[in-house]
């Protein structure tokens, strides 16, 4: 959406809306991952985090670097806002990430579907035992498919640091999976 981005940068709220709507699913996932659940941070929940982050992004568009990618920049604001909500709530999110209830469309045999759901539940439970920083790193990479450079933008660190953080988070996830 380079056109929407360009127009948004000139103060076009409608274009900004289109731009943000494109990244809304990712933003909601990031908020949920940091909060530890969709109703995290003292009941503020993902909706309030994403709304606040969206408003902050709009008000801080003047700090957006020309030529940069909007998605990591926006997700950074979402992640920071979610962390602030956690701190303001005075506690870490100890809610649980959950898989959305949905109809499973079987692509293989019934056993295969059951196994997949069991594996998913196993990984989800392990993710829930990680802290929000580790969860976020894993999510940025494996939920959102962000590159190292994009992750560095979201996490506000060097690319090399992204590698070590991801490696460490994945090692912790593996530890949890082995319990």
């Amino acid at each position: 959406m380079p056109d929407a981005l360009q127009r948004a940068l000139t103060g076009d709220a409608e274009a900004f809306g289109v731009l943000v709507a494109e990244h809304l699913p990712a933003a909601r996932r990031v908020a949920v991952v940091v909060l530890g659940g969709r109703d995290g941070a003292g009941g503020d929940g993902v909706d309030d985090v994403v709304q606040e982050a969206t408003i902050r992004s709009w008000q801080r568009l003047d700090t957006f670097r020309p030529g940069a990618e909007f998605r990591p920049w926006y997700l950074r604001v979402v992640a920071n806002t979610a962390r602030n909500h956690l701190r303001s709530a005075g506690r870490r999110g100890h809610l649980q990430l959950r898989a959305a209830a949905r109809e499973v469309v079987a692509t293989g045999g019934a056993d295969e579907v059951v196994i997949d759901r069991e594996e998913q539940a196993e990984v989800l439970a392990a993710l829930n035992r990680l802290d929000d920083a580790d969860r976020l790193v894993v999510a940025l990479r494996h939920f959102e498919g962000l590159s190292e450079a994009e992750m560095a933008e979201v996490l506000e660190c060097a690319r090399g640091t992204v590698k070590s953080r991801l490696s460490r988070a994945m090692a912790r996830l593996r530890e949890e999976l082995s319990l």
Binding site: E22, L24, V32, D62, E119, L124, T161, R168
Partner: protein, 309 residues
């Protein structure tokens, strides 16, 4: 219990992300546009005073976007009315709201489908910190990539250690690091870093120099070195086995240690390196390396790294 391969784990993680329960939302492009218009523009934004920011953020100071004022969050119940605002009602221009909403709905659908796809890049068997990538090797790292002399010169740490024992610290520094070090005085080194020189507690460098790869190298009397570089960019690769690697807690923003001899590849050479602690702190990358004979234990190196100010 499942035995997880990297591929299996990544594939399941992708499905976890795709199926994550993020709840329903009534936000769409039109609602977002109305929301931000109601919040005020960039020009209308007023930086918060520190006290206001502290009250708002619960004391958090992280992230520049936090300096922006925060408009009231619109309760869920009010969002329908946001969507119902007439197109252009708040000075907005352009297409009718329903058309924007339809485009946004399509985009959300596309984005959702895209999110289902697994991360395209597999997690490689490497990690890194700052400008240093660390390739994990199986077995003895000094018997693998380290023997490749095409990239540059591979040096024997024992040789440089002998030089250090002979008291020629400068020569030792050149052997450990590079032939083409350019010596610096302290003011030049600090000008290069843009700040005062970080040094371990109680130690003063006997030599300051800059190698072709950049940054400032401090050489200490016991043959250990501290390389400090500002900024980022991938420059170095270290080859080491997993058993040599460990994360170090409580040191800078991120820290790694490599125990024992391993190889360091720079853009122009391959060097044999000793135990080392690497960390990133306050936009500086630091690498504290033991003497060539590894007379400093890794624990001593880590303690020394922690004392750097």
């Amino acid at each position: 219990m499942t035995a997880w391969t990297d591929d299996d784990l990544e594939a399941v993680l992708a499905t976890v992300g795709a199926d994550l329960d993020v709840g329903p939302t009534s936000l769409d492009a039109a609602a977002i546009a109305a929301l931000v218009e109601g919040a005020g523009s960039v020009e209308e934004a007023r930086p918060l005073e520190p006290a206001e920011r502290k009250e708002r953020d619960g004391g958090d100071e992280a992230g520049e976007e936090h300096s922006a004022p925060v408009a009231p969050v619109v309760p869920l119940a009010d969002r329908a009315s946001l969507r119902d605002q007439p197109p252009g009602g708040s000075g907005r221009t352009g297409r009718p709201g329903w058309a924007v909403a339809a485009v946004a709905a399509a985009l959300v659908l596309v984005a959702g489908v895209a999110a289902v796809a697994p991360a395209r890049e597999a997690v490689a068997d490497f990690l890194g910190i700052g400008s240093t990538t660390i390739e994990r090797t199986d077995g003895d790292p000094t018997e693998s990539g380290g023997s490749d002399t095409e990239v540059g010169e591979l040096r024997d740490p024992a040789a440089s250690g002998q030089s250090a024992e002979a008291g020629d610290l400068r020569e030792a520094a050149r052997n450990v690091l590079a032939d083409d070090l350019s010596e610096l005085d302290r003011s030049e080194a600090e000008a290069m870093l843009g700040r005062s020189l970080p040094v371990p507690d109680g130690l003063e460098p006997v030599l300051l120099a800059t190698p072709p790869e950049g940054g400032v190298v401090q050489v200490f009397a016991d043959g250990s070195t501290l390389w400090v570089k500002a900024g980022t960019g991938e420059l170095f690769t270290k080859q080491a086995s997993s058993s040599q690697l460990e994360f170090v807690d409580g040191l800078g923003e991120e820290a790694l240690a490599i125990s024992g001899a391993h190889d360091l590849t720079t853009p122009g050479r391959v060097l044999r390196a000793s135990s080392v602690v690497l960390w990133v702190d306050d936009d500086l990358e630091l690498r504290l390396e033991g003497d060539a004979n590894n007379t400093l234990s890794l624990e001593e190196l880590i303690n020394r790294a922690r004392s750097v100010k």
